[in-house]
């Protein structure tokens, strides 16, 4: 079987980008939108075909899924031993990513036809979307780390263009710049990591790097820098790149701000695709991490764990619905990183790896759904802030239903997809590190809590005064919601342990009830708390209280219990934990980054007198420079 058609997966979005970018202005907006959407539809189909072919027709060779190089061409002869190739590599994770990216991207394309209608620069928006899809797809199918780096940066560029696209206000511009610069800063680590890795292994190719032949690392043996082996450094630096894109603490600061972009963009880039690139990178390099730099893997696990807790706590305090979702994304990405960090290699040992990819898949579905749902809500009420919303369920029935499904999924309610993937992660964490397991367990509860806080605030509670009656979004927007809702429900039934595993070999996975049941319970507790806190304060429509029956009344009447609860959660947890954490995030972590920027700008102001415009002063600096250099190099050294 050949996969020669896979090249089209890259070429079509590139072609639509060029077409829309160059001639889009001359077309009617809708035509240009349709061109982009149809192009993406075609490659979605192609990706599904490829996946079908890869997993079910060709299947395994000698019991493992092989790494197939579908296309490869020599690109640059770097030095005598290093050659950069550009090509397409198919293996379980890249094929899986093809499916994820094309699916979500296709949905976003359709959705945007409605959401962005009438916006200025509609054609440009579609051109950028195509560019983004192209670069993201190029990233995942890269055959070598160099190619990956190039597409990696291209993804950064297109994300910059998309975040800065929509609003003309300064915050959007600042956000896009921040996103770009923070991730570039992280990429600096990535680049140096690549240089280190290739310097010692003499190769860029993933196939060689992650293959069974470990002799390529022989050069690096015994090389240490500051007491840590050089491969660990390389791995940590590469992880730094991944942490930048996947917004791990403390490089996460760009993601919440990036919500200034149009909502479909948030769904595509900041929920389902680009931000998981970092997770994907670590997964891609997993054997290198596992065999050569186990310490780095620990770093991955703890950074992931910390980020997921940190972000979940902050998510509880946010009022902007997109920011809640952003922090939730951070938290879920932390989950995925952690799962990779605690994973072993091969067979059931590698359950963490499998779980991470599994969660990546399901998360893409339900988080894209949440963002698109949020977009639909914002479309209806023209506001991002929860306080402006309430009681929307009767105006937006489809949005309401799909949003509820997504919330239930992310909360880990049984038999929805999030339940399965999250459970696997908890299992992996449990076997590896009890502390991390405890953290994740807590986060599971927090997640359920803040998601339902969001849900109740939007769809229930007192109806706010709206400028005009909110109405359900057009078909172009609701259909993607329904499709994604379908995905959120059923994605969990895909047998990932048979398809996507650390060494390509399937293994048997089974439900661990000792972990699944408590995690479901804590999720339910989170939901209940949210329900108690955020539904009670409003006048509840009678039929709902009737429907909920005795349970509700019981809670309602036992208000002394309630008071205590309120006291603990609102007064203590909020004031002494969540708020300080949020404050820390806003002022210290963010502040440090801003401080660096400020320092640069200020120092550039301070030295301006060097360039005084006065000729003799130029001569002075010139001669003084020469004399000092003479003094240093001829007489001191």
């Amino acid at each position: 079987m050949n996969y020669s058609l896979t090249i089209l997966i890259l070429l079509i979005p590139f072609a639509t980008f060029l077409f829309n970018g160059l001639f889009g202005m001359k077309l009617k907006p809708i035509i240009s939108g349709l061109i982009g959407t149809i192009g993406l539809g075609v490659i979605t189909l192609l990706s599904y075909l490829t996946a079908w072919q890869y997993f079910f027709v060709d299947g395994m060779v000698n019991g493992t899924f092989p790494k197939i190089i579908a296309m490869s061409m020599d690109w640059l002869h770097f030095t005598d031993f290093l050659t950069v190739r550009i090509g397409i590599m198919l293996d379980p994770i890249s094929v899986m990513m093809l499916v994820v990216i094309t699916t979500v991207s296709f949905m976003v394309h359709i959705y945007s036809l409605g959401y962005m209608e009438g916006e200025k620069g509609f054609q440009r928006f579609y051109a950028f979307l195509s560019l983004f899809s192209f670069s993201m797809l190029g990233l995942v199918v890269a055959t070598n780390i160099f190619q990956m780096y190039i597409f990696w940066e291209l993804v950064g560029v297109s994300s910059f263009l998309l975040i800065g696209f929509y609003y003309t206000k300064d915050s959007a511009v600042a956000a896009s710049k921040k996103a770009f610069i923070v991730t570039r800063f992280a990429d600096l680590g990535f680049l140096i990591g690549i240089l280190l890795l290739s310097f010692f292994t003499k190769t860029f190719d993933f196939k060689t790097l992650t293959g069974s032949d470990q002799s390529i690392f022989a050069n690096a043996a015994g090389v240490n820098f500051m007491g840590i082996s050089v491969m660990t450094w390389a791995a940590i630096l590469i992880f730094m790149g991944g942490a930048g894109k996947s917004a791990m603490f403390p490089l996460h600061i760009w993601l919440p701000d990036a919500m200034e972009g149009p909502t479909p963009v948030s769904a595509l880039i900041h929920a389902a695709t680009m931000v998981v690139a970092g997770v994907y990178l670590v997964a891609r390099m997993f054997p290198v991490f596992y065999f050569q730099a186990p310490e780095a893997l620990n770093v991955v696990a703890y950074v992931g764990g910390f980020t997921s807790l940190f972000a979940a706590v902050i998510a509880c305090t946010q009022y902007d619905i997109k920011r809640v979702l952003a922090f939730s994304t951070l938290s879920q990405l932390g989950y995925m990183m952690l799962a990779l960090g605690v994973s072993g290699y091969g067979g059931e040992e590698g359950v963490g790896y499998m779980a991470s990819m599994f969660h990546l898949f399901t998360h893409a579905m339900f988080k894209a759904l949440l963002f698109l749902g949020a977009g639909s809500i914002i479309h209806a009420v023209h506001s991002n802030v929860m306080q402006d919303m309430g009681g929307l369920r009767k105006y937006l029935p489809i949005t309401h239903a799909t949003f509820l499904i997504a919330c239930l999924t992310i909360a880990g309610v049984p038999f929805l997809s999030g339940f399965f993937s999250k459970d696997e992660i908890l299992v992996a964490a449990f076997h590896h590190d009890k502390l991390l397991f405890a953290v994740e367990f807590l986060v599971a509860g927090l997640t359920a809590f803040y998601m339902f806080r969001l849900y109740f605030n939007i769809f229930w509670g007192k109806e706010k005064h709206y400028h005009h009656t909110p109405h359900e979004s057009p078909k172009t927007m609701t259909i993607p919601l329904m499709i994604l809702a379908f995905g959120s429900i059923f994605a969990g039934y895909i047998p990932f342990h048979k398809l996507v595993t650390s060494d390509g070999m399937p293994f048997e996975s089974h439900m661990n009830f000792a972990i699944a049941i408590p995690s479901v319970l804590i999720g339910l507790i989170g939901i209940t708390v949210a329900w108690v806190l955020y539904k009670k304060e409003t006048t509840i429509p009678e039929r709902i209280s009737k429907g909920l029956g005795g349970f509700y009344t019981a809670v309602f009447h036992k208000f002394y219990f309630d008071e205590i609860y309120l006291f603990i959660t609102k007064k203590i947890i909020f004031n002494y934990i969540s708020r300080p954490v949020a404050w820390f995030d806003r002022h210290i972590v963010d502040g440090t980054m801003n401080g660096i920027g400020w320092l640069t700008v200020t120092s550039s102001k301070k030295i301006r007198n060097l360039q005084s415009g006065n000729l003799p002063q130029y001569g002075l600096v010139f001669v003084l420079g020469a004399i000092i250099l003479v003094l240093v190099f001829a007489f001191i050294i």
Partner: protein, 105 residues
């Protein structure tokens, strides 16, 4: 040592002249005097070249020819510089360097 004159003393004289020129470039504000400082600098270099040639390497005339070409180029440089100074004078009615700092920072 040539006829009782040590080479170092000649070099020191030329070094003095050179740095006098440099100093002049820095402290002067009139463009023509700056130009004169530059002539001092180039002249110091010429002395160096000639002296090295005569005292150390008299088997060839490299230093002398180098100095010769420097003189030629100095003339060309001076002519263009003076044309520019006159150009500035026409425009600003002044040849003070303090006047030509419209562009800065």
């Amino acid at each position: 040592m040539l006829q009782g004159i040590p080479i170092t003393s000649v070099l020191i004289v030329s070094a003095f002249m050179f740095f006098a020129g440099v100093c002049g470039f820095i402290i002067r504000r009139n463009m023509i005097t700056i130009l004169m400082s530059i002539e001092l600098i180039l002249n110091a270099v010429n002395i160096n070249m000639v002296v090295f040639n005569k005292f150390l390497f008299p088997d060839q005339l490299q230093g002398q020819f180098f100095a010769l070409f420097i003189v030629g180029i100095a003339a060309a440089e001076a002519s263009v510089a003076i044309a520019l100074v006159i150009n500035i004078y026409r425009r600003l009615n002044s040849i003070s360097v303090d006047k030509v700092n419209e562009m800065k920072y």
